[in-house]
C-alpha cells in the first residue's frame, strides 16, 4: 500500500522532481566519468612515463571526488528538503487520516530509494556513454593512438559511484526523517496559506548600500589587476577575496531596490506592460534570495575562471612545447667546481674526482663513462660564463631601488649568464631560432620570461645602459630584450642571457657551466626512445656517473613533453570536473528556488489573468522574472571573472597568454550556456505549468 502511494505520488509530482532528477543524473554521470578515467581505452595506449602521470592524476581526482561528493551530497539534501517541504499539505492529510509519522518517513524513504535507483541507473548509463567521448578527448591530449576503438565499462568506477551515492542517499533519508519528526499537524495543513509579508527597504539605504557594494568590488578589482604586484604573498590575496564576497552580498542585497528606484524614475518604462509587476516581483523576492544568489554568483565565477584559465594554460603549454623543444637533448655540467659549492642551498664539499671532471668537456665525460657518442648527432658544446661583478643588482643600475621596492622577492644577487655570440649562434642555428650579430663594443640581452623581460626593458629602454664585462665596457645594441634561449623547457622561462662579442676577454675560470645540445641519431620514435633509455637511471652510463659522484643535468624533448602535457592535463581535468560540479550545483539551487517562487506566485499570476492579461503577456512576465534571477548572478560572475582571469593569467605569468584565452573562453561559454541554459529552460517550463494549474480547471 505504502509502495503504491509513494509510486503514485512520484508520478503526480514528476514535474517537481524533474529538476531534482536532472541534477542527480548529471551528478552520477560526471562522477562516473571522472572516476573511470584510468580504465579508459586511451589510457592503455600511452607510454610508461605518461602512465605514471595518469596514475598521479587518478590519485588526485579520487581526492577531488571526495570533495565533489560532499558538494553533491549537500546539494541533494537541500533539493530533497525542498521537495519534501513542497508536499507538507499532502503529509498533513495523511496524518489526519491516521497515518503515523513513521509511516510518512517510510513513504519518503521508499521514494528516495526509488528515485535513487533510477537516477543511479540512468546516470551510469549516461556516464558510460559520455566517458567514451571523454576517452577520445584524453587520447587527443596525450596523443595516444585511438584507431582500435573499443567500448569500455569500468566496474570499479561504477561500484565507487554506487557506494558514494548510496551514502548520500542515506544522508538524505536521515535528514528527511528529521524533518518529518519535527512537523506539527496544524502547520502542515496550513502550509499553503502562508502569510505574505512584504518587506520594503528604504530606497535611500538601498542606493547607499549599492554604492558601497560597488565601490568595494571596484577596489577589489583594482587590487587584483592594476595593483597586483603588491600581492607577493598568499596572505595578501585574502583581503581582495573577502572584499569580493562582501561586495557581492551587498550588491545583491541592494540591487533590486536600486534598479526599482532607477526604473521608477523613468515613468515611461515603469508604467509599461507588466514591467512594474516584474520589478516588484524581483524586489519582493530578492530579500530571501540574497544568500543563495551570492553563493551562486561566486560559484559561477569560480567555474568561469577555473575553466577558462585552465584551458588557456593547457593550450599555450602545448603550443610552447613544440616551439621550445627543438632538439632531443640538453645536458649541462658545472665547470670549475670549487672545493665547497652550494647544492640545493647547502654547502657541499667536492671530491678530487668531481673537480677534475668539471674541467673537461661534457663529451669527454660521456665517453669516459661508457656512452657511445655515435648515438648522438648535431652535437654542439658551448661554455656559459659568469663574472663576479655582474649580477641582477648591477644590471638594473640606478633603477634598482625602484624595482626592488616593487619586487622585493627577487634574488638580486643572481649572476648574469654570459655567452659568446658565435657560441650562441651555433646553438640558435641548430634550434632554428634567430641568430644575432654584434659589434665589438656591444652586448644583447636575450630574455623570454614575460615579467623579467618587462623589468629588463625598463632599464634598456633609454639605450644608454652600459655593462662592464671582464673589464671592458659594453653598451646595449638594442633598447629592449631580444627573444632567445639556450636551455629547452616546457615554457618561456629564460630570465636572461647576455650575449657578448667573441673577443670579450673572458677567462677559463669564468666558465660557470658547459652546455651540450644534440639530437638523437635515430629516425623513428622507437629508436629515439631506446637512446633516451641510455640516459636514464637504469643505464650503465648513468650508473657509472653515479658511482663516481659525477653530475650531468639534462632535459630531453621526450621528458619535457610528457611532463608538461601531463601537468596541463591534470590541471585541465580537475578544473573541468570541479567547474562542472559547481555549475550544476548553482544551477540546481537557483532552479529549485525559482520553482518555489512560482508556486508561491501562482495567486499573483492568477490575478493578472483575471484583470485581462493574455497568455503572451503572462508568459513574458514569467520569462523575464525567471530570466532576471538567472541572469543577475551570471552577469556579476562574468564581471568578476574578467578581473579574476586577468589575475590568474598574471599569476601563471608566461605560462598562458591572453591570446590563448579567447578560444577557452568560448569553450567555457558553451559549457555554461548548455548546462545553465538547460536548467533555466526547465525552470521556465516548470513554472509555466505551475502558474497555469489553478486556472485551467
Amino acid at each position: 500500500m505504502l509502495f503504491r502511494l509513494s509510486f503514485k505520488n512520484m508520478k503526480k509530482s514528476i514535474k517537481d522532481y524533474a529538476i531534482y532528477f536532472l541534477t542527480l543524473v548529471l551528478g552520477v554521470a560526471i562522477f562516473y566519468m571522472f572516476n573511470s578515467l584510468d580504465s579508459q581505452q586511451a589510457m592503455m595506449q600511452v607510454s610508461a612515463s605518461q602512465r605514471d602521470i595518469i596514475k598521479l592524476m587518478v590519485g588526485i581526482l579520487s581526492y577531488v571526488s571526495v570533495f565533489v561528493a560532499v558538494v553533491l551530497g549537500l546539494l541533494i539534501v537541500y533539493a530533497n528538503n525542498f521537495l519534501v517541504n513542497r508536499r507538507k499539505k499532502e503529509f498533513g492529510i495523511y496524518i489526519t487520516l491516521g497515518m503515523g509519522k513513521k509511516q510518512i518517513s517510510k513513504i519518503i524513504l521508499l521514494e528516495t530509494i526509488f528515485i535513487g535507483i533510477i537516477s543511479l541507473a540512468v546516470g551510469i548509463v549516461l556516464g558510460v556513454f559520455a566517458s567514451q567521448f571523454m576517452s577520445i578527448l584524453v587520447a587527443k591530449m596525450f596523443k595516444a593512438d585511438m584507431t582500435g576503438f573499443t567500448f569500455v565499462f569500468s566496474k570499479d568506477a561504477c561500484i565507487k559511484t554506487c557506494i558514494y551515492f548510496a551514502v548520500m542517499y542515506i544522508a538524505v533519508m536521515f535528514f528527511n526523517t528529521l524533518t518529518v519528526s519535527r512537523y506539527k499537524l496544524i502547520n502542515l495543513l496550513n502550509a499553503t496559506k502562508k502569510n505574505e509579508k512584504v518587506k520594503i527597504k528604504n530606497p535611500f539605504i538601498s542606493i547607499l548600500v549599492f554604492i558601497i557594494g560597488v565601490s568595494i568590488l571596484g577596489y577589489a578589482y583594482w587590487k587584483v589587476t592594476a595593483d597586483m604586484h603588491s600581492m607577493d604573498t598568499a596572505e595578501k590575496m585574502l583581503p581582495p577575496i573577502l572584499m569580493g564576497i562582501t561586495g557581492t552580498v551587498l550588491v545583491f542585497w541592494s540591487l533590486s531596490g536600486f534598479i526599482l528606484q532607477v526604473v521608477q524614475m523613468r515613468r515611461k518604462t515603469y508604467l509599461k506592460d507588466t514591467n512594474m509587476f516584474v520589478l516588484r516581483q524581483i524586489n519582493n523576492k530578492i530579500n530571501t534570495m540574497v544568500a543563495s544568489m551570492s553563493v551562486i554568483c561566486l560559484m559561477l565565477f569560480m567555474t568561469i575562471t577555473i575553466l577558462s584559465s585552465s584551458l588557456a594554460l593547457r593550450n599555450s603549454m602545448e603550443r610552447n612545447l613544440i616551439e621550445m623543444t627543438p632538439v632531443d637533448l640538453n645536458l649541462t655540467k658545472t665547470a670549475n667546481l670549487q672545493e665547497t659549492y652550494k647544492k640545493y642551498g647547502r654547502e657541499v664539499k667536492s671530491t678530487e674526482e668531481q673537480r677534475e671532471d668539471s674541467k673537461i668537456s661534457i663529451i669527454e665525460t660521456m665517453e669516459n663513462n661508457g656512452f657511445d657518442m655515435s648515438n648522438l648527432k648535431d652535437v654542439i658544446e658551448i661554455p656559459i660564463y659568469t663574472t663576479n661583478n655582474l649580477n641582477w643588482h648591477v644590471f638594473f643600475g640606478d633603477k634598482i631601488d625602484d624595482i626592488r621596492s616593487r619586487y622585493p622577492m627577487l634574488q638580486y644577487d643572481t649572476k648574469e649568464e654570459i655567452i659568446k655570440i658565435s657560441d650562441y649562434n651555433k646553438v640558435a642555428k641548430l634550434y632554428g631560432i634567430q641568430e644575432y650579430e654584434l659589434n665589438s663594443d656591444e652586448y644583447i640581452v636575450l630574455c623570454n620570461f614575460n615579467s623579467m623581460e618587462n623589468l629588463r626593458n625598463e632599464v634598456l629602454i633609454d639605450g644608454t645602459n652600459k655593462l662592464t664585462i671582464a673589464g671592458i665596457e659594453y653598451k646595449s645594441k638594442y633598447n629592449e630584450c631580444k627573444d632567445g634561449y639556450v636551455l629547452m623547457s616546457g615554457s618561456h622561462i629564460n630570465t636572461g642571457i647576455i650575449l657578448v662579442p667573441d673577443d670579450c676577454p673572458l677567462k677559463e675560470e669564468d666558465k660557470e657551466r658547459k652546455l651540450l645540445v644534440a639530437n638523437y641519431n635515430a629516425t623513428t620514435d622507437e629508436d629515439k626512445e631506446k637512446i633516451e633509455n641510455l640516459l636514464t637511471d637504469e643505464s650503465n652510463f648513468v650508473q657509472n656517473l653515479n658511482n663516481k659522484g659525477l653530475e650531468l643535468d639534462g632535459s630531453t624533448k621526450i621528458s619535457i613533453m610528457e611532463a608538461s602535457i601531463g601537468l596541463a592535463t591534470i590541471v585541465t581535468f580537475i578544473a573541468i570536473y570541479l567547474g562542472i560540479i559547481f555549475l550544476i550545483a548553482s544551477s540546481a539551487i537557483l532552479a529549485l528556488k525559482q520553482l518555489t517562487e512560482s508556486s508561491d506566485n501562482k495567486q499573483r499570476y492568477l490575478i493578472l489573468r483575471k484583470i485581462g492579461c493574455d497568455e503572451k503577456m503572462i508568459n513574458r512576465a514569467l520569462f523575464r522574472q525567471i530570466g532576471i534571477f538567472f541572469a543577475l548572478p551570471l552577469i556579476l560572475a562574468i564581471i568578476h571573472s574578467i578581473f579574476g582571469i586577468q589575475f590568474a593569467i598574471e599569476v601563471m605569468s608566461g605560462l598562458a597568454s591572453k591570446n590563448e584565452l579567447i578560444p577557452s573562453i568560448i569553450a567555457t561559454v558553451v559549457v555554461i550556456g548548455v548546462i545553465y541554459g538547460a536548467y533555466f529552460l526547465a525552470t521556465y517550463l516548470g513554472s509555466k505549468q505551475i502558474i497555469k494549474e489553478d486556472f485551467e480547471k
Binding site: K197, V198, R267, L271, F277, R280, G612, C613, M617
Partner: protein, 255 residues
C-alpha cells in the same frame, strides 16, 4: 436605451452523462447602459457560475452572451483576453490586489497592460483616486490599508479602464458593515455620476438594496425579478426580504 449585455438562453452543465448538474438552466436577461443590476441567490444557486460565464472566465454549454453587440461565447484565446481587458472591469470578494504593488500601481496595472502612456495613466489614476477618496493611500501597500480601502482600490482598478460593464462578485463579502456601506455608496456614485453599468452578485439583502434591479436565481433558473422604480431604499430592502422569504429559509441560513 442602449443594451450593454444580452444573455440569451444560456445553459451550463457540469459532470458527465450519468451524473449531470445543471448549474445554469436556460437563463435570459438584458442589462441596459447605466443600470445597476444585482443578482441574488443562495450558495449553489448558480449565481457565481453566471457571473463567470459573463466575465469569460468560464464557458457556457449552450446559448449566447452579447456584450456591446459582440457575441463573447464565440471569442477565443487572445481576443477573449483583449475583450476582458478592455470591455470588463472586475471587483472580487477577496479584492485580488497584488500584495507586492502599491495602491497606485495596482490601479495603474489595469492601464499599463492596455499600453496606455505614462502621462495619461498618472492623470487617470489621480482622478479616480480623488473620486473614490483614496488619494492619501495611493503610496501604501495593500497590507497597510483597511479592508474597505482595499475594496475601493479594487473598484478604482475596475473602473479606470472605462469598461462597458463592471462585474462585482460579493464585493462586500469580506467587509464590516461600515466599510460595506461606504463601498456601496461608492458604487452608487460610480453608477450615477460616472454612468458605469454594474452587475453585482450578492446574497446579502442590504448590499442588494443599492441596485436598481434585482434578479433572483434558484437552482440555475431566474426565479423572480424586482425593480426599485421610485421606491426608497428602505422600501426596496423590505421587498427584497419578502422575496427572500418566498424563496425559502435556505437563503436566510447562509447570511
Amino acid at each position: 436605451m442602449e443594451k450593454i449585455l444580452e444573455v440569451k438562453n444560456i445553459e451550463k452543465y457540469y459532470g458527465n452523462k450519468s451524473n449531470l448538474t445543471k448549474a445554469i438552466d436556460n437563463i435570459s436577461f438584458e442589462v441596459e447602459k447605466g443600470e445597476f443590476v444585482g443578482i441574488m441567490g443562495a450558495s449553489g444557486s448558480g449565481k457565481t457560475t453566471l457571473l463567470n460565464t459573463i466575465s469569460t472566465i468560464d464557458r457556457v454549454t449552450a446559448g449566447h452572451i452579447i456584450v456591446n453587440g459582440e457575441d463573447i461565447t464565440k471569442l477565443r484565446g487572445n481576443k477573449l483576453n483583449k475583450f476582458r481587458r478592455e470591455e470588463l472591469g472586475f471587483i472580487f470578494q477577496d479584492f485580488n490586489l497584488l500584495d507586492t504593488l502599491t495602491a497606485y500601481e495596482n490601479i495603474a496595472l489595469a492601464l499599463t497592460i492596455q499600453r496606455v502612456n505614462a502621462k495619461e495613466i498618472d492623470k487617470r489614476v489621480g482622478e479616480i483616486a480623488e473620486k473614490l477618496g483614496i488619494k492619501e493611500i495611493l503610496k501604501k501597500y495593500p497590507y497597510q490599508v483597511s479592508g474597505g480601502q482595499k475594496q475601493r482600490i479594487a473598484s478604482a482598478r475596475a473602473i479606470i479602464t472605462d469598461p462597458k460593464l463592471v462585474l462585482a462578485d460579493e464585493p462586500t463579502g469580506a467587509l464590516d458593515s461600515k466599510s460595506a456601506r461606504q463601498l456601496l455608496e461608492n458604487f452608487e456614485y460610480l453608477n450615477k455620476k460616472l454612468n458605469a453599468t454594474i452587475l453585482m452578485v450578492t446574497h446579502d439583502a442590504f448590499t442588494a438594496s443599492y441596485a436598481n434591479r434585482i434578479l433572483f436565481i434558484k437552482d440555475g433558473k431566474i426565479f423572480s425579478e424586482l425593480t426599485k422604480g421610485n421606491d426608497t431604499r428602505k422600501q426596496f430592502f423590505e421587498k427584497i426580504i419578502e422575496v427572500q422569504t418566498l424563496l425559502g429559509g435556505d437563503l436566510n441560513d447562509v447570511i
